[in-house]
Symmetry: C2
Subunit: 152 residues, 2 copies
DNA sequence: GTATACAGTTAAGCTCGCTTAACTAAAAAG
DNA sequence: CTTTTTAGTTAAGCGAGCTTAACTGTATAC
């Protein structure tokens, strides 16, 4: 607790640079695929969760069940999503990415990695090691916090 | 160049966690303000650039001049933006955040900091120092790369 | 076994962001 | 000085996302 100011400043500076940059790339990619942000966000969600019901979607994005249903329908039509009946509850539907949906999302993520790779490619071996270690610390701390709170 | 795999993995893991989380907070905040994402994005852009013309907006977000003009008009009406004539070119308009616009954006950024602060608050003093150093390295590398390429 | 709650769908209607097209006014080019 | 570009505005119209309301079918409560 000796240097809370230092780490907070570093965090803020980094977040500013990183978010400013990644938001732009994000929008550009979504636009290039022809998908809207809401549609793309659903694909991303499925990418992380693997599979989930429509009600989870409507909760997560804070929209009505009707809106979630309509969005999902379009993504199914486009071939990015598969919608199957939940065997344990025949009211519910299980959504998951199709292979082309998975491919699309992966490409989007890949593209966002590219800038970061470019940034780190200029670092010295020593700095690379430091950065890698620090990011592992951060990632673990974030995951731990999320699981403790039950977030996903 | 001895550990490119290690740093790339660390970067990817961190980006996944961070982006997943921050996208959500971002959307929630925009929604809570009653502003749409395009509107909020413009405010963010102005926050970083300080001042810019409409043509820069339409370029940055890849929309027509008409769209940019309409979006800006709404933000002016809402009191978040000030639109003044450019004294050096009387065709152009200079956009900048009003005080209430600046306040709104700051709150949004603040809110996104909160999660990060929570994550780092649990770190040991030693880890904090490591993370702070690493983030400074990254921030400098990113800024240097952007200025070299003329990005903003 | 009936009543209630839940998961999802469908339709009507609204708002919003976006585009094109037509226009004004100022700067730059010739 | 005339022509052409550039910066921005306005209007009409389209498509997307969202909401509410009405509805189907399934699970849960009592």
């Amino acid at each position: 607790m000796t240097k809370p100011v230092q780490i907070n400043q570093s965090l803020r500076a980094w977040m500013d640079v990183f978010m400013h940059r990644s938001m732009r790339g994000w929008n550009q990619f979504a636009k290039s695929t022809g998908l809207s942000m809401p549609q793309f966000s659903i694909l991303m969600q499925l990418h992380y969760k693997g599979v989930c019901g429509l009600s989870e979607i409507s909760e997560r994005f804070d929209v009505s069940a009707a809106a979630a249903s309509q969005l999902a329908e379009k993504l199914v039509q486009s071939g990015y999503l598969e919608r199957a009946e939940d065997p344990s509850d025949r009211r519910a539907k299980l959504l998951r990415l199709s292979s082309s949906g998975e491919k699309l999302v992966s490409e989007g993520i890949q593209e966002r990695y590219r800038w970061m790779d470019e940034v780190t490619s200029k670092l010295s071996t020593e700095d690379s090691a430091k950065v890698a270690e620090a990011l592992n610390i951060l990632t673990n701390a974030a995951r731990e916090m999320d699981t403790r709170k039950g977030n996903t």
